[in-house]
Amino acid sequence: MNPSMSTVRAGFARGRAEIRQSFTTGQDLWGYFFPTVAFLVVMFFMRGATVPGTNFSLGTRTLPSVMGMGIVMGGLVTLMSQLIVEREDGTLLRAKAVPNGMMGYLIGKIVTVSGMMLIGQVIILVPSLFMLSGISINWFTYVWVVVIGLVACLPIGAVTGSLFSNPRNASVVMMPVMALVATSGIFYPIQSMPDWVQGLAQVFPVYWLGLGMRSAMLPDSMSAVELGESWRHLETLGVLSAWAVVGVLVAPMVLRRMARRESGSSVAARREKAMQRVT
C-alpha cells in the first residue's frame, strides 16, 4: 500500500478511535449532554410561545438555530481547543515523529471533530422531534449546509488553535464567538439588533449557519420572518464558501508553521508552565 493511502486510512482509524473513546470519558460525555439538556430545557419552555407575527412555536424555531450553532461550536471551538491542548501535552510532537504522522493526525482530528459534531446534532434532534411540533426536515438542504458549514468552520478552528499555545488564552477566542452567537439571531431575533450589529453578524458564519439550518428544518412560510423575508440560500452558500476558500488556503500555511516549531523542548517548556499554573 502506498504511503498516502495508508496515511488516510490511519487518519480515519484515529478519528474512529477518538470518537469511540469520547463515549467512555466522563468529560466528553458531559460535553455532549450538558449543552443538549440545557437547550432542550430552554426550548421546552419556549414551545408555548410563538414567533412574533406568526402562530409558529418559538421553541421549534430555536431548534435549528441551536443546531447551526452546534456546527460552529463543534467545528471551530472543539477543533481549536483540541489543537491547543494536544499541542501542549505533546500529542502533536508524537505525530511529528512518525512518518506522515502530522497528516494522519489532521485527518483524524477532522474526522473526530466532525463525528462528535454530528453525534451532538443527533442527540439534540431526536428528543426535540418528540417534544416540538412543526419540524419538517429537507435533508438535501441540511446536508449541504452542514458540509459547507464544517468546511468554513474547521479551518478557522485550526488557525486559532495554532495561534494560541496556552489553553488559558482560548477564552480570548471564546468571547468573540459568544458575542457572535448572541448577535446572530440564534436566541434573539436579529431584527431587534442595531443595524450595524446586523451587518457585522452577517459577515460571520454563525448567522448563516443558523439561517441555513432554519431553512432546512422549518416550513417555507417561516422564511417570512427572516431578514429579506427569504432563506437567502445563494447568500448563505456565498458567505460560507468565502470563509471556506480563505480557510482552506490559509489554514495549511498556519498549521505548517505551527508544526515546524514543535520539538521536545517546546513541549517541555509548556509542561513547565502548566505545572506552575497547577501549583
Binding site: 504511503p3 490511519a10 494536544e86 511529528k96 515523529a97 512518518p99 506522515n100 520539538s263 521536545g264
Partner: protein, 322 residues
C-alpha cells in the same frame, strides 16, 4: 568496525556502503539571537553503535538531538543522519528514525496496545526486504515489559510504565537509528536493568543509538562511546575506559599494614603496588586499587573545561583518540 579519527574527516567513499556512518556531524553551530549554544560540534556514529551524549544542563544536548531529529533548524554546519540532511528529511527518512519522547499526558484515553497498533500503521508502507515494519504490537509490548498493561488506558499507567511505553513508541517502526533523551528517568532499578537489556538487544540487531543521560553509571554500561558536550562543543569522545585512563591519571591505592590503614594516590598504580609488595610482602592486607569511575572523569573534565582550560582538555582528548 572501521577505525575513524573522531575529530578528522573520515575517508568517505572508501568504505563499502554498509560501513557508512549513521551520523556525521561537522562543525555544527547553533545560535539563538546573540547566544551561541553550539559552537562547533563534531562527531560520527557507526552502524550498531551506542553513543552516549553527556554534559551539564544547558550544554546543548537537547538542541543537538533536536537538530539531528529534524525538529530544529541549525545555524551552520554539515549534518548527515542516515545519509540525509535532517533539515530536508522526507517521510521515508523519518520512517527509519525512532524518537523516544519524554511523554507527559498525551493519548491518555488510548489503550496501550491500541496506540501502538495505530502508530504502527504509519510505518507499514516503509517495510523493506531487510526490515519488516512495524513491530508487532504484542511482541513489542512484551519486549518493553508491558504485557499485563496492554489493555490499560495510558493515563492509568505509572510514571515508569509510561516511560516504557515511550520507548515502545520510539521503536515501533523498527528504526535504524534511535534517539533516546533521558530514557530511564523515573525507572526503578529493575526496570532500568530490563531497559538496558533492551538497548543491548536493539544494538545487537544493528540499531544505532544516540542517548542522553545524567546517569553516568548507565552511560558506562550502555555506551560503546561517550561524548561529553560542554560549552557548545564536544570536549571528549572515547570509550569510558579511554576517557578514564586519560583524564583521571590518579588511581587510589588503599592497603593495611599491621592494622594501620593507608591511602595513596598515584598515576602508576601497578608500579606502586609492585614496590609496596617488595617493601612489605605478606604484611599487606585489604589491598584495593580504585581506578577513576566515569563519574570522576566526567566531573574532572567538565570542571577543567569550565575553569577555562578548554584547549587543554581538547588537547588531552585528542591524545585519547590516537
Amino acid at each position: 568496525m572501521a577505525v575513524v579519527d573522531h575529530m578528522g574527516a573520515p575517508a568517505r567513499g572508501t568504505r563499502p556502503a554498509i560501513e557508512e556512518n549513521v551520523l556525521e556531524i561537522r562543525d555544527l553551530r547553533m545560535r539563538y539571537g546573540t547566544k551561541d549554544v553550539l559552537t562547533g560540534v563534531d562527531f560520527v556514529a557507526h552502524p550498531g553503535e551506542v553513543v552516549a551524549l553527556l554534559g551539564p544542563n544547558g550544554a546543548g544536548k537537547t538542541t543537538t538531538i533536536e537538530i539531528l531529529e529534524g525538529f530544529r533548524m541549525r545555524s551552520a554546519g554539515d549534518v548527515s543522519v542516515l545519509g540525509v540532511d535532517p533539515a530536508h528529511g522526507d517521510e521515508n527518512w523519518r520512517a527509519r528514525l525512532g524518537v523516544v519522547l519524554q511523554s507527559w499526558r498525551d493519548h491518555g484515553k488510548w489503550k496501550v496496545r491500541e496506540l501502538l497498533e495505530h502508530l504502527g500503521l504509519y510505518y507499514a508502507p516503509y517495510s523493506t526486504n531487510d526490515i519488516t515494519r512495524p513491530w508487532d504490537a504484542d511482541e513489542l509490548i512484551e519486549a518493553v515489559g508491558l504485557t499485563e498493561h496492554a489493555n490499560k488506558k495510558i493515563r492509568m499507567l505509572s510514571g515508569g510504565q509510561r516511560r516504557r511505553l515511550d520507548v515502545a513508541i520510539g521503536i515501533v517502526g523498527r528504526p535504524e537509528l534511535l534517539f533516546l533523551d533521558e530514557p530511564t528517568a523515573g525507572f526503578d532499578p529493575e526496570a532500568r536493568r530490563e531497559f538496558h537489556d533492551l538497548v543491548h538487544a536493539l544494538s545487537d540487531a544493528n540499531t544505532t543509538i544516540l542517548l542522553t543521560t545524567h546517569d553516568l553509571d548507565e552511560a558506562e554500561k550502555l555506551a560503546d562511546r561517550i561524548l561529553i558536550l560542554a560549552g557548545g562543543t564536544i570536549i571528549a569522545d572515547g570509550s569510558a575506559d579511554e576517557l578514564a585512563r586519560r583524564m583521571s591519571t590518579e588511581a587510589e591505592v588503599r592497603w593495611s599494614v599491621g592494622g594501620q590503614r593507608f591511602v595513596h594516590s598515584t598515576s602508576d598504580a601497578t608500579a606502586f603496588v609492585r614496590q609496596l609488595f617488595r617493601d612489605h610482602d605478606e604484611a599487606i592486607t585489604d589491598l584495593e586499587v580504585r581506578r577513576a569511575s566515569l563519574e570522576d572523569t566526567y566531573v574532572a573534565m567538565v570542571q577543567q573545561f569550565e575553569s577555562g582550560r578548554q584547549d587543554e582538555a581538547v588537547r588531552e582528548f585528542e591524545v585519547v583518540t590516537r
